[in-house]
Amino acid sequence: MNSMHDTSRRRALKLLGAAGAVAGAISFGALLPPSAARAQALGMPLEDEKVADTMKRLFGGRTVQDAGERIKVDAPLIAENGAVVPIKVDAELPMAPDKYVKNIYIIADKNRRPLNAKFSLTPEAGKASIATNVRLASTSDVRVIAEMSDGTLYGVTREVKVTVGGCGG
């Protein structure tokens, strides 16, 4: 619990300078022809699906190899709050121009729509390391799958338990 008020790793943030915050709300409709605007606005809610169907849709019949220690997933064993589950992925896999981690998928088996997010990298990224916060509907296996540029798939699965009840912390 004491980590909550650990102040040893503070760094000065250049919030006012470097992190220029631009609240640009530009409508594509204004800048692009209507067809282009539609093409950009592809974000539709996914259909409800079982995780097996998600895997089939994303990877066809390709086998996912166990990544073992090569993909390190930092996710809480127990999430007090399924609405914000921090997940950090560090993949120690090649990042060379001829073979690199092209995509990293986060998939929560028990979510109504299992795909949480897909991250796409280039060899210029230097390393395959991403982080985000995801929503988990309930206690679930969370799969992290790295797709190499040659189509090889490596994956790890971690269970995250979501607590409900109590007085809400």
């Binding site: 619990m1 004491n2 980590s3 909550m4 008020h5 102040t7 790793r9 503070r10 760094r11 000065a12 943030l13 250049k14 919030l15 006012l16 992190a19 930092d74 809480p76 064993l77 127990i78 999430a79 007090e80 709050n81 609405a83 914000v84 589950v85 921090p86 206690t139 338990k161 607590t163 409900v164 009840g165 109590g166 007085c167 809400g168 912390g169």
Partner: protein, 457 residues
């Protein structure tokens, strides 16, 4: 007065504090606090908890987020000074002629609307998640040869059996459970013989299922003072930083008297306000002008309109953000409540009484969950309950990930009222300020350091 008080040895001071009522009576410098009845609330309408009749139903207006609901428990004691005491322990009469059904009892014991019992007790059911361990493990309770009558009484009003200090609510005597429901639960409990008999059954191999072996996990939301990890910082930057130097209707801004916001440092990523460094750590303070203790939030709600003309109602966005901006100037510094002020000592005593006072339909007190003799350091369902002696209430306001908003300790206290089935007081109630003083005094004695805003569930 203050100087004289400081001359008194620490031991003598503690003794005097213990005899607080005498001090209050004898010392002219100690003022009487106003109560929430007398205090004209400066909180937002949502925070005031106004009780009113809508379509023939009495409701209490509460926040529209977080699941506060509007059920009014106006018949039951609240934390307001002058509110009646909770009813004394009451023996129940086990109804004759009803045959207990263990199946119905099993369903009731898991029903969230009825407690749930599994928030505090372990039963042999792998589908229960997450179980808590505030109360005893019930997996072999039926092997103990306890009479039905005894178990009935425990559920009806445990204070009759275990004494007034028990953290368990009087589920029957308060009317939350019907006598028939308790009979079914008793039948279920008697069916729990254990496996092997007399021993708690091993239900799963999952160490997280059992609250006694479950690790306490705090998700790493990242560096509290990183604006990309903590949206509470962005909220403060957007709301409070411009407001600090914005002249109000009276022509003055905060900066007019307290100086500008300077360059950031490691502890104050939104900028250093030199005159405010250390100030927030000294609150709550006794404000003689208002005859009450005031937190930073309470004080801003009166001080900003008086000086700048800016309205800054408690628990409103401007108040929460400004409170963070002020409090974070003390980041890294220990809480420094003025324990030498007899008015603070008097408030600590009032706050302690409140902490131990049973309220609401459930008839539970802060102490039932947040001391080691109750649920402190144990799991209530999946929640690890803070212990007032160790880690309760450190560092507010904070970014609450579950609600995706900043809340202060008063909203947190008001939120506690909901499951207790207690009507909340206005966020700026003097009673809450005393309760806050009681807890911050412990943080001061422990040397806890300020870190605002933090990120938490």
């Amino acid at each position: 007065m203050r100087l004289e008080w400081r001359k008194i040895s620490r031991g003598r001071r503690a003794a005097l504090a213990a005899a607080g009522a005498v001090i209050v009576g004898a010392c002219a410098a100690v003022g009487t606090t106003v109560t929430s009845k007398e205090w004209q609330s400066r909180a937002t309408p949502q925070s005031q908890g106004i009780v009113k009749v809508v379509n023939g139903k009495t409701i209490q207006e509460r926040y529209p987020f977080g699941g506060f609901g509007t059920d009014s428990f106006e018949k039951w004691p609240t934390y307001a000074y002058g509110s009646p005491e909770y009813f004394p322990p009451k023996k129940g009469e086990m109804p004759k002629g009803i045959k207990g059904d263990p199946k119905k009892g099993h369903a009731l014991i898991k029903a969230s609307a009825k407690g749930p019992c599994t928030g505090c007790h372990v039963i042999p059911d792998a589908t229960v998640w997450p179980a808590g361990n505030v109360g005893p493990d019930l997996r072999a309770i039926g092997s103990r040869g306890l009479p039905d009558e005894h178990l009935y009484q425990v559920v009806y009003d445990p204070r009759v059996i275990f004494g007034a200090d028990t953290p368990m609510a009087p589920f029957g005597a308060s009317g939350m459970w019907t006598p028939e429901e308790i009979v079914h639960v008793v039948a279920y409990l008697q069916s729990l013989k254990g496996n092997p008999p007399g021993q708690p059954e091993k239900v799963t191999d999952d160490p997280q299922w059992d609250p006694r072996t479950r690790p306490v996990v705090r998700p790493a939301y990242g560096d509290h003072l990183d604006i990309t990890a903590n949206p509470g910082l962005g909220f403060t930057q957007d709301v409070a930083v411009p407001l600090w130097s914005k002249a109000g209707p009276k022509g003055q801004s905060c900066a007019s008297c307290h100086g500008p916001i300077g360059a950031p440092d490691a502890q104050r990523p939104l900028g250093v306000i030199a005159s405010m460094v250390g100030v927030g750590a000294r609150y709550p303070k006794w404000m003689a002008k208002y005859s009450r203790m005031m937190s930073v939030e309470d004080f801003l709600a009166v001080h900003a309109p008086e000086t700048t003309g800016h309205e800054m109602p408690s628990q409103g966005d401007a108040n929460l953000a400004m409170s963070i901006l002020v409090r974070m100037q003390s980041n890294g510094m220990p809480y420094a409540l003025d324990l030498a002020d007899p008015n603070v000592q008097a408030a600590i005593q009032r706050g302690e009484a409140t902490f131990n006072r049973r309220v609401g339909q459930r008839g539970q007190a802060c102490a039932n969950c947040h001391t080691a003799r109750g649920g402190g350091n144990k799991f209530l369902g999946g929640r690890f309950l803070a212990d007032v002696e160790k880690d309760a209430m450190i560092n507010h306001p904070y970014w609450r990930t579950a609600w995706q908003r900043v809340i202060d300790i008063r909203i947190r206290m008001q939120w506690c009222m909901t499951p207790l089935r207690t009507n909340m007081l206005p966020g700026d109630a003097p009673e809450y300020a005393d309760l806050e003083t009681f807890i911050i005094a412990k943080q001061t004695r422990r040397g806890d350091k300020v870190l605002v805003p933090r990120i938490s569930h």
